[in-house]
Symmetry: C2
Subunit: 238 residues, 2 copies
Amino acid sequence: MSSVEMGVMKPASNRAVILASGGLDSTVTAAIAKEEGCELFFLTMAYGQRHAVEVERARQVAAALGVVNHLVMELDLRAIGGSALTGWAAVPKDRAGHERSQGIPITYVPGRNLIFLSIAAAHAEVVGASFIYFGANVLDYSGYPDCRPEFIRAFETAVKEGTKAGIAGIPLRVKAPLLMLTKADIIRRGIALHVPFHLTHSCYDPVGEQACGRCDSCVIRREGFAKVGVVDPVSYAL
Amino acid sequence: MSSVEMGVMKPASNRAVILASGGLDSTVTAAIAKEEGCELFFLTMAYGQRHAVEVERARQVAAALGVVNHLVMELDLRAIGGSALTGWAAVPKDRAGHERSQGIPITYVPGRNLIFLSIAAAHAEVVGASFIYFGANVLDYSGYPDCRPEFIRAFETAVKEGTKAGIAGIPLRVKAPLLMLTKADIIRRGIALHVPFHLTHSCYDPVGEQACGRCDSCVIRREGFAKVGVVDPVSYAL
């Protein structure tokens, strides 16, 4: 008789909260979670001026992947940044790799992953999820302290000590399956999983319905697809 | 020559982010931070239906204590709770101590302190604060895993691993000076620090400008003032 049949252990939940932005990385992450047998609970943070299109794309991705639930939370992080973030509107264009690797990424908000993961952990407790999946990867890693594995482990410990489930011995695991992958690796993984790339949104500065093709995010995405040798289904203005 | 004069060590900032709700506990906590020599940066989370009066009281307390800045962030945590929190509107009244100690407090939101502390940590990084003060105390402690000292220490470690300041060796300390105090102890501390109790708001279910006098929060507050033997300046409907 297994310990589950004896009622001693609670069986692990296969529910996963996915931090879903409607972007390429979080969509591949969601597809990985699904492949790993998880029921998907999407959480989309609407946190700034450019969020409308991202939320809409996240909804389309959610529908395509067959999620159980999709929670959209509003939190205007621009207020935290104060005047330091007024530069958000000035999206750099046509930067080469060595330029992009310098300075703080345009989307940087101190503590953003800490905040988003905390909200995901709260949502996970409510829906009884055992996992959070999020799409951090090595491209972010260099500039973002809160993409480091050391941070992720420390965050798991804080959740263990700060939630009823954690104290009861039911751990919440935070999974970042893209952490060590390049953009080309991520796209290859997505192709294998039949990810609906045409629904994903990466551009920081869209021109109507089209991606601008020149911001850092567009440039990195296009370089990734070019390296893999497949056509990016997203429409670019330039 | 000290290490500071040599430019080797960055002097510790005396800036503190205060999680300020406009309530009695957070106001006493803010007064303690001020007494300990901190410059105060108030952070008020507006997170649900009853927040309007709390935010207004927090503004008045901020003015009375002479804060450097007061940031109000909106985050509707009711969405996280989903249907589990539809019971919020039913405020229990006239409960004795043994009744109050049973069940989940009405204000319970899974992960609330984790979320609020995460936002406070992000704000602390932006303004260069070395401390977060928050007003958790033993009355919450029994029911809230995220009021336990073990959680607070684990959270500090997560911040250390997940922020630029933390990685640079500049720690963020989370202080909960009321953690082991009863309500009467807190009120005595507040009296000694000349806290503007008349501005503080504790009631879950106010009647116009007056506190209801019968919800758990009112009952605990009134019992505290009665024990200390001073008059609560707040006006009660009953």
